[in-house]
C-alpha cells in the first residue's frame, strides 16, 4: 500500500499496464519528456521511450483519429486530451468513428482505446479549462464514460478501462488531482466499469454524484447531520441504474449533484430513471443541484457557478421538508 494522490494513482496504473502489456502506448500533447501539463505521465517517457510515449502534433482530431487506427490494428492506445475544453475538435472522431466501429462492422473491427481527459472546474484555470462535457459522450452509444472521485478508484478504473475492449473516455477531475491522498494497493487491481459505489449508507434520502462533486456532497451531508445515502456513480456510461434505484426505493427521496449545466445533463437522465422506476416510492420530486445553464464563467465567478456545499445543503433541507 502507498499513500497516493489521484495523479500518482493514475501514473502508477499507466506504468503497470505498460509494463504488463506491450500493446499499450500513450500519445498526446506534451505527454513525453514534459510528463503532461498535469504531470500525469511523468517519468513514462524516460522509462518506456519515445516509441511508447509519443508527443504528437497539436491536433486533437489527429490524436483520436490515429488512436482509432492504432486500436483497430491490435494496439491499446491511451491518448491524452490536454483539457476537456479541447475535446471539441476530437468530437467527430470519437462519436462518428470510435463509437461506431464495432457495430457498423458487426464486430470485425473494434476500438479498445482509453481517452484520458482532465475535467471540471475549481482550479482558477483559463477559459475552456473547467468544463464538464460527460453528458455529451453519454448520449453517444458505443462509448463508455468513467469519472473517478478517489485515488483508489482512479487506479482500478483506469486499469479496467485500458483492458476494456471498447472505447472509454476516462475523465480525471482535475480539482482533486492532488487534493488528498489515499491508501492505494501497489499491486494491480480493477474496479469494474459500470458499477456505482455506495460511499455511505443512509435511510433518509439518496444523493448521487461523481467526480470532484462527491467531496462536496460528503461535506454537505455531514453538516446536515442527516442519514443520507451517498452514491458515487463512478461510471457514467453505462449507468448503474440498479444501485440508484435500489437506494431510492429504500429512501424515497433523491438529489443528484453535478458540475455540468442542468439542462440535458446526466442529472436529467438519472432523474427520469428514478421517477420511472421508483414512482410509487418517491416521497418528493427528485432534485438536481447542477451547474447553471450558462457557459462556465471565467474563474472570478467559477465558485458561484459550481454546486457547493451550501447549495447542496439547501436542497437537502427542502427535500427532507417536502
Amino acid at each position: 500500500m502507498a499513500n497516493l494522490t489521484l495523479v500518482q494513482a493514475i501514473n502508477l496504473a499507466l506504468i503497470q499496464e505498460m509494463e504488463k502489456d506491450e500493446r499499450v502506448l500513450i500519445l498526446g500533447e506534451d505527454v513525453g519528456p514534459n510528463g503532461g501539463v498535469f504531470r500525469v505521465t511523468e517519468g513514462l517517457h524516460k522509462r518506456f521511450g519515445g516509441k511508447r510515449v509519443v508527443d504528437s502534433p497539436l491536433a486533437e482530431s489527429g490524436i483520436i483519429g490515429t488512436s482509432v487506427g492504432l486500436a483497430m490494428n491490435g494496439l491499446r492506445p491511451v491518448p491524452e486530451i490536454q483539457f476537456e475544453g479541447f475535446l471539441g475538435p476530437a468530437y467527430d472522431q470519437l462519436c462518428t468513428h470510435a463509437a461506431r466501429m464495432r457495430t457498423r462492422t458487426r464486430g470485425s473491427l473494434t476500438v479498445p482505446m482509453t481517452v484520458r481527459v482532465p475535467v471540471g472546474g475549481g482550479i482558477h484555470a483559463p477559459e475552456l479549462h473547467s468544463d464538464s462535457p460527460e453528458a455529451i459522450y453519454t448520449h453517444t452509444p458505443g462509448l463508455k464514460v468513467v469519472m473517478p472521485s478517489s485515488p483508489y478508484d482512479a487506479k482500478g478504473l483506469l486499469i479496467s478501462a485500458i483492458r476494456d475492449p471498447d472505447p472509454v473516455i476516462f475523465f480525471e477531475p482535475k480539482r482533486i488531482y492532488r487534493a488528498f491522498r489515499e491508501e492505494v494497493p501497489e499491486d494491480e487491481y480493477t474496479v469494474p466499469i459500470g458499477k456505482a459505489r455506495i460511499v455511505r449508507e443512509g435511510g433518509e434520502m439518496t444523493m448521487v454524484s461523481w467526480g470532484a462533486s462527491v467531496i462536496h456532497c460528503m461535506n454537505a451531508i455531514e453538516s446536515s447531520g442527516r442519514d443520507i445515502e451517498l452514491i458515487d456513480l463512478r461510471t457514467i456510461s453505462p449507468m448503474d441504474v440498479e444501485t440508484v434505484v435500489n437506494s431510492v426505493n429504500k429512501t424515497g427521496r433523491a438529489i443528484i449533484v453535478h458540475e455540468a449545466p442542468l439542462t440535458c445533463g446526466i442529472g436529467s437522465e438519472l432523474s427520469a430513471r428514478i421517477m420511472e422506476h421508483c414512482f410509487l416510492q418517491l416521497e418528493s420530486p427528485v432534485q438536481r443541484v447542477a451547474g447553471f445553464d450558462v457557459i462556465m464563467p471565467y474563474y472570478k465567478l467559477e465558485l458561484d457557478y459550481l454546486p457547493d456545499t451550501e447549495r447542496i445543503g439547501k436542497a437537502i433541507e427542502e427535500t427532507a421538508a417536502y
Partner: protein, 372 residues
Amino acid sequence: MPVSSVFETTIERLSILEPDGTFDESLGKNLIPDQDLVDLYRHMMVCRQFDVIAFKLQRSGRMGTYPENRGQEATSLGAAYALQQSDWLVTCYRENAGLFWRGLPMEKILLHWMGDERGNHIDPDLHITPLAIPIGTQMLHAVGLAWADKYRDEKSISCTFFGDGATSEGDFHEAMNFAANLDIPTIFFCQNNGWAISVPTKIQCSAPTVAQRALAYGMRTIQVDGNDIFAVVKAVRDAAEVARTESRPSFIEATTYRLGDHTTADDARRYRDADEVSKWEKQDPMIRIRMYLEKRDLWNENKQNEMQAEAEKLISEVVKRAEEIVDPVCNDMFDSMYASMSDNLKAQRSTLRTSSLGQNPSQLPLKDKAHA
C-alpha cells in the same frame, strides 16, 4: 542576406500509357507482365458490369443510394495491384475495383448500399476497412493502422484513398501532418475526379495541382494520370518502396474523372457540361488498356464478348447472394454495440421498448412495487 531562398521544389507529373495509345517503354517496360495486364483488364470489365447492375438495382428500388465508380477504375485497381495483401487499403466509396482485386466478396459492397451492416463485416486477413461515408476522416485511421504495424516492426504499410473534395477537410491535414512528422508509412492517394458532388475542384483547391498539398508537410508527392494504370502502378510501387524501406509517407494525386453522377441521388446535368463529360469519356481507362492489349495481340473482339458474358454471369450471382441473405433481425442493432451488454441495453433488446412501463420488470428492481 536580406532576401534568400529557403525552399525550392518541383512537382512532377507521370504518365506512361497516353490516351492515344503512346506508350513510354523506358518507364513502362516490365512494369506489368502481359498476363497480369489481361487479368487487370478482365477485372475492370467485371467492375464496370458491377457498376451497371448496381445502378439498376437502385433505380428499380432494390438498393439504396449508390455511387457509380465508372471511369475511375484504374486508380484503386492500380494501387491494389501494386501493394501486398498485408498492406491496408483504407478507402472511401469509389474504390470497388481495388477492393475486389484484394479479394473483398463483391456482395459486401452491395450489402452496404442495401443498408446492411453485414456489408462491412470483412475478413481481417484482407486488411481492408469498410467504406467511409464521412468525407476525409478515414485517412487518420490509415495513419494509425500503419503506425501499429510499424510499432510491431512489421513491414506492412497503409494506402488511403480519397477525393479532391476530401482534401478540404481538417482531418486530411492532420493525417498528412501526423504521417510526415511521426514517420508513418502511409500512402495518401487522392483521386482528383474534378468534382465533389456539384462543386468543382478549384473551390476545394485553387492551387495549380492538388499534389502540392503535400509540400506543406515536406512530403514526397507526385501527380499521375489516374486513367493510366501503368502510371498508377509505378507511382504506388515507388511510394510503397519508400514507405517500406524508409518508413516515410507519400502523396499521389491521380487525375481522373467521375463519368457518372455523384451518386444515384444526384443529377450531374444540373451543374456540368455534357461536353466536359464526353471529352473525358474518350479518356476512359478501359479504352486505353484495351487498345494497348489489342495492339499487342493480347485481346480481341471475341475475348471481349466472352468476357462480357462472363462478367454478366458473375455479377448476377453476386446480386443473388446479396439479395438472398436472410433479413437482419432487430436484435442485431444491440448485439455488437459493445463486447458485453449493459443491463440497460439488455432490457431494451428483450422488450424492444424504451418506455419504462414496457420494459420487463424483472430486469429492474420493480418487484416489490405495488400498483397504486
